[in-house]
């Protein structure tokens, strides 16, 4: 099938493909369900068959793709544990693997991400006056603190999700700038990529500020900047996010996200 691209695709599929392409063969990846898992499995099913998927609740390399009934509701759902190679525990994944320094890529989500790649999944409002509480850390802070590379997956890409400074640093990126992670004593590499429905973003080596790397072929650089609450570093050459190949799309639609829950392909097909 090679490199023939799908004719139509959804933003969710674009994100899954972008996530998958970040994973190298042999990488150890920690992720939760949803797009992070679809992206990781897509990599494993295509170019990275030796990548390992770990889940924080204590599940190693399951085959979470074949359901007896219903849909998977989260890491706590035994659907996610199906045919695992090892059932272990939270400390074994997040302590003796992640904190031990073995995790190549950790994928997290959140409510907000700021220009230094700090992620808030704790509250809206402010540190001192929260208006509403959300998930908090779970394993997100640990992943952001300790993984070699952190991928933040967030959508929709909109102004309020990309503030100059997050209301609460649940999961530190580069905190307040270059050298700050080292100063506070963090070991992991910090935020490496942010994947949204509009773009793939990275961080400038000098300033540790967010930089546009690639955009959804259906949007412009200006649109991305307009929906971002701080000034993005925009290099001369901005790539286009890769659409799914026919093979990738087939795997997404027939194996990994048959109901379109995460990539929205089924819903888009109905809507069109």
């Amino acid at each position: 099938m090679g490199k023939e691209f799908a004719k139509e695709w959804t933003p969710g599929e674009l994100m899954a493909v972008a996530g998958a392409h970040l994973i190298k063969d042999g990488d150890i990846v920690i992720c939760g369900i949803g797009l992070p898992e679809v992206a990781t499995l897509l990599a494993i099913y295509t170019h990275a068959p030796r990548a390992k998927i770990l889940m924080e609740q204590g599940v190693v390399e399951p085959k979470p793709v074949q359901f007896r009934r219903g849909v998977s509701m989260g890491l706590a759902d035994p659907r996610e544990w199906f045919r695992a190679k090892c059932f272990t525990d939270y400390i074994d994944i997040m302590g003796t693997t992640l904190q031990r320094g073995l995790v190549d890529i950790g994928m997290i989500g959140g409510l907000e991400v700021d220009k230094y790649g700090n992620v808030n999944s704790t509250l809206i409002g402010s540190y001192n006056k929260p208006l509403r509480y959300f998930t908090g850390s779970g394993g997100a802070n640990d992943i952001a603190s300790l993984a070699k590379k952190v991928v933040v997956i967030m959508r929709p890409h909109e102004l309020r999700r990309f503030p100059e400074r997050v209301a609460f640093i649940t999961s530190p990126g580069f905190i307040s700038g270059k050298g700050e992670r080292e100063r506070v004593g963090l070991r992991g590499g910090g935020s490496w990529r942010v994947i949204t429905d509009l773009a793939v973003l990275g961080f400038d080596e000098e300033t540790c500020q967010m930089k546009l790397l690639a955009i959804n072929p259906k949007v412009t650089v200006e649109e991305v900047q307009a929906r971002t609450g701080f000034k993005l570093i925009i290099p001369e050459k901005v790539e286009l996010m890769s659409p799914p190949t026919i093979e990738e799309q087939k795997i997404i639609r027939e194996i990994l996200d048959r109901e379109g829950l995460y990539t929205g392909w089924k819903q888009a097909a109905k809507g069109s």
Binding site: A76, Y90, I91, Y127, T135, S137, T170, G185
Partner: protein
């Protein structure tokens, strides 16, 4: 050396041993293996001022907070998976109705591990540079310190050991002495059961000790740590129990809708306070027909 200890009690008796103000480490992870039947009885017996700890918050945690049993919550965050948020917990936090010590998932596990190992603290490399750490340093300075490693000079977060008064663990299989088998991933089950001063096991199945001896590698919690055993089939409903039954989507949605709409009291009256015990609850939620519809397939485990 046949079975000489029978720790089996009724749920009512087991819950009577909990005192107001106790620190309970609760069972499970988000929407699975919660000790729901135990939580229901805690609510019926009107336990108050509890401290609840858990790595990732559970439906049980949310229900106990909603029912006003909880004074303090020590946890690592979490939501009810894709089912929805924990309305009771999130609102109680905004309204400052409960005290909260909020960590990351790993840090809660490490705090239990230190408690289990009988050491006063354990170092960690997590939390550094975060507002989670900042808030803990402001609100719980006796629980956390940032220091430099006396060997390497690197910055470390020292986490104070957590030693719950009681750990309540829902297990698939247990004998009357408390030797418990748990199928599926373990979350922080081992650490919290070992950190706690007392352990109560609620279980789907009570087996003879000779069955336990046939496969001792499976024993996650040995009987010598366990004080009380309670027979509670479908004791995790509406959360799932791997190899025994699936989550009850319908019932969880009903719960979440009630919470969202501010009708949690009504839910409580109907399903918890309105029944005398777990057997009545199982009838109330739909009886045998419902239970068989949730029953796990042996191959898939749900």
């Amino acid at each position: 050396m046949s079975v000489v200890e029978d720790k089996l009690k009724t749920m009512e008796e087991a819950v009577k041993t909990i005192r107001d103000g106790d620190h309970i480490a609760v069972s499970g992870f988000a929407s699975t293996r919660n000790a729901m039947a135990f939580a229901h009885e805690l609510i019926r017996q009107k336990k108050r001022d509890l401290t609840i700890s858990v790595c990732i918050a559970t439906l049980e945690t949310d229900m106990l907070v909603g029912a006003g049993c909880v004074k303090k919550l020590i946890y690592g965050g979490g939501r009810l998976d894709r089912f929805g948020p924990f309305w009771n917990i999130d609102r109680a936090k905004v309204e400052n109705r409960i005290l909260v010590e909020e960590y990351s998932g790993l840090c809660i596990c490490l705090k239990y591990l230190a408690g289990a190992l009988g050491i006063p603290y354990i170092p960690s490399k997590s939390l550094l540079g975060s507002d989670i750490l900042r808030r803990l340093q402001e609100t719980a300075p006796d629980q956390i310190k940032v220091t430099e490693c006396p060997f390497t000079g690197e910055k470390l977060v020292l986490l104070r050991a957590l030693e719950p008064d009681v750990a309540v663990i829902h297990a698939q299989v247990v004998d009357r002495e408390g030797n418990a088998w748990i199928y599926g991933p373990l979350f922080e089950t081992k650490e919290k059961a070992r950190a706690a001063k007392r352990v109560i096991i609620t279980a789907e199945e009570i087996v003879d000790t000779e069955i336990i001896r046939n496969d001792p590698e499976r024993t996650v919690i040995p009987g010598y740590r366990v004080d009380t055993v309670v027979y509670a089939p479908f004791g995790a409903h509406p959360t799932s129990c791997y190899k025994y039954y699936d989550y009850d989507l319908e019932h969880i949605q009903l719960y979440l809708e009630a919470c969202e709409k501010g009708e949690f009291e009504k839910y409580l009256k109907e399903y918890v306070l309105g029944v005398d015990n777990h057997w009545e609850y199982l009838e109330k939620i739909g009886g045998a027909k419902k239970l068989f519809s949730l029953k796990a397939d042996p191959y898939y485990g749900y």
